[in-house]
């Protein structure tokens, strides 16, 4: 049995404080620029938490989760921009499409051990970029699709200030984190843990690896698709480079790695640290130097793998254990 809290009331108090800090953020962050960044933290934090369900919990590294993100994003802008339908209808559509792609990619690769899943997911990315670029009737080609300006409100997901959108994104993040925590403590979470630690032994212990991985992948794809749908609504624009960018995949992996892949709150913590930092860096570095920010990401990934594979969460849990004598 893992993670007994030092005491339950303390933990609930901590969650309440964290929730209050999140939802009151627009009050104490007065500039709308900061709120916009927080929207990105929530959306990418949620997406990274989704990636972590399969990538972190089961150690099945997906390098193609951008595809689910892009499917969700395109669903919104196509529904709103081309069809004139509600973005709320786009979200389930995006989920269904993403889950279909997830099943198609998981079905052959999860029957194989080894590197096939990572290889296949990476190969998925250029294919969707090609489809989005050349299926012009649907996606507007490389020009992309813009959503026209509609009356602001919850039904159009367009607002005069970024603050209402922030609340929607924050609710998504909280829901996704609840899901991630629930999975971590469910039977599925234990199965994924077993697969991560020792695949052969997990099979001997009666874990159906294929089914467990498929369940995690489907949930993961659905979560990332919803985050993508809201991202599309937030930007009110989508083109192939934005939807199916290698950088998105990279960010999802990196946030989870930095925060700690073994913790349900790890990816969100990573996003909270790295997105503001990235925004700051890209404002400072222009021209050829812009690449240096990305280069730092690469260096960070390698350093994490070599020296701190458990991320900040790992450091935190060591400190916690020393202070309280209990495991986090």
């Amino acid at each position: 049995m893992r993670s007994l809290p030092t005491s339950r009331p303390w933990r609930i108090a901590f969650y309440l404080v964290a929730l209050a800090a999140l939802f009151l953020a627009p009050v104490y962050l007065q500039s709308s620029y900061s709120v916009r960044i927080l929207v990105l933290v929530c959306l990418f934090g949620a997406a990274s938490t989704g990636w972590n369900l399969i990538g972190g919990y089961a150690n099945q590294i997906s390098l193609g989760h951008t595809v689910f993100f892009g499917i969700g994003a395109y669903a919104t802008v196509i529904f709103q921009g081309t069809l004139g339908l509600s973005p709320w209808l786009a979200i389930p559509t995006g989920i269904v499409l993403a889950v279909i792609v997830a099943l198609l990619i998981g079905w052959p690769t999860f029957q194989l051990s080894g590197h096939y899943f990572a290889l296949a997911t990476l190969a998925l990315l250029p294919v969707f970029h090609i489809i989005a670029t050349y299926w012009e009737d649907l996606t507007g080609g490389s020009v992309g699709i813009s959503v026209p300006i509609l009356p602001s409100g919850l039904d159009t997901l367009q607002f005069d200030t970024p603050t209402p959108f922030f609340y929607i994104a924050a609710v998504l993040l909280v829901l996704v984190m609840i899901l991630a925590r629930w999975v971590r403590q469910s039977v599925l979470g234990l199965q994924l843990d077993a697969i991560r630690l020792n695949p052969q032994a997990s099979t001997l212990a009666g874990v159906n690896q294929f089914r467990a991985k498929m369940k995690a992948l489907v949930m993961s794809a659905a979560v990332v698709a919803v985050a993508g749908s809201l991202y599309g609504a937030f930007l009110q624009f989508m083109d192939p480079d934005t939807a199916f960018s290698w950088n998105t995949t990279l960010n999802l992996v990196l946030f989870a790695m930095v925060g700690g892949v073994r913790f349900w709150w790890g990816p969100a913590l990573g996003a909270l640290i790295l997105i503001p930092f990235g925004e700051f860096a890209s404002a400072q570095l222009t021209g050829n130097l812009a690449a240096l920010g990305q280069l730092a990401y690469g260096v960070l990934l390698i350093l994490l793998v070599l020296f701190q594979p458990r991320g900040i969460g790992g450091l935190f849990s060591i400190v916690w254990q020393k202070a309280t004598g209990r495991k986090l």
Partner: protein
């Protein structure tokens, strides 16, 4: 007759480009075969080779085809250095750590190139760029023929190295059974360093060789990733002979698809082949075919 000619021309083009695909992928499969690591930075090493050749060509007026062996040697040193610093510590780590480390390496290489050369499409000029050869009524661009010739030479050299030299045999022994090889006095760490160096050498050399017919920019590795992985998976992860055959097959499929599809979509059939290969492998079809052919040989 006209259609037949088109198809023949297209198959011939596919074989030329396919031999280059074999050359860029064979290092990836060699590294996997010996070290059991998928090098996700392989496309970026191709880009490094292209930029190396581009730099030599613009700064010193050297032809990429002549400079290619030197680029390959430099690539070997780079690969050996990378293996010692980044790959060696994680050789026994979980697969996920290896994926993240090589992905991180690729990011560093691509963005390092972007910081130095800028995010532009660059190309070199060579005197033979417009030339074509004609044979049996078919026409071949000189740049592709030279690149394919390089690929054939390198395949022969690699086969000689692995089959005829003591070092090559030791490397194959390590690939087959690390523990047994170690018992016979083979140092696996040395084999890993050389295998990784050799894999990078092959792909950087390939980068130099293909430069006369293509453009280079820092993120071009991404474009080749799909093809490399398709070739390596289709050929059977770790099989060098498989990768060479699969490279030719992928080249021909891609080339034939341009008869029906716009050339921008030529990677779509490649992906379909990749996906079918995955389904076949997961269903055990390929291994059954392989076993059947082994039985045929025995009888």
């Amino acid at each position: 007759m006209d259609i037949l000619n088109h198809v023949a021309q297209s198959v011939a083009n596919g074989l030329l480009i396919g031999s280059v695909y074999a050359l860029i992928s064979v290092g990836l499969t060699l590294i996997f075969g010996v070290m059991n690591i998928v090098n996700f930075a392989h496309g970026e090493f191709l880009m490094v080779g292209m930029f190396g050749a581009y730099f030599a060509s613009t700064a010193f007026g050297l032809d990429p085809l002549w400079i290619a062996p030197l680029i390959g040697i430099a690539g070997f040193l780079l690969g050996a250095l990378v293996e010692r610093t980044i790959i060696e510590p994680i050789i026994k780590a979980p697969q996920s750590a290896q994926i993240i480390a090589t992905v991180g390496l690729g990011i560093i290489l691509a963005n390092g190139a972007a910081a130095i050369f800028g995010n532009n499409f660059l190309s070199v000029k060579t005197p033979y760029q417009g030339e074509t050869f004609s044979l049996f009524g078919l026409h071949f661009a000189a740049t592709f023929v030279y690149a394919a010739a390089y690929a054939v030479v390198m395949a022969v050299l690699l086969a000689l190295f692995l089959n005829k030299t003591r070092f090559g045999k030791a490397m194959r022994a390590t690939a087959q059974n690390r523990g047994a090889a170690q018992l016979l006095g083979i140092d696996p760490k040395r084999m890993y360093m050389v295998a990784f160096g050799l894999g990078v050498a092959l792909v950087t050399l390939a980068g130099s060789v293909i430069l006369p017919y293509t453009l280079v920019y820092p993120f071009i590795g991404q474009q080749y990733v799909l093809i490399m992985f398709t070739v390596v998976v289709l050929g059977g992860l770790g099989s060098i002979r498989g990768a060479i055959i699969a490279g030719l097959v992928v080249g021909v499929i891609q080339s034939l698809s341009t008869l029906l599809l716009p050339s921008e979509l030529q990677n779509l059939p490649v992906f379909i082949v990749f996906f079918i290969a995955l389904v076949l492998i997961s269903g055990g079809v390929l291994s059954r075919v392989r076993n059947a052919s082994v039985k045929l040989k025995r009888s």
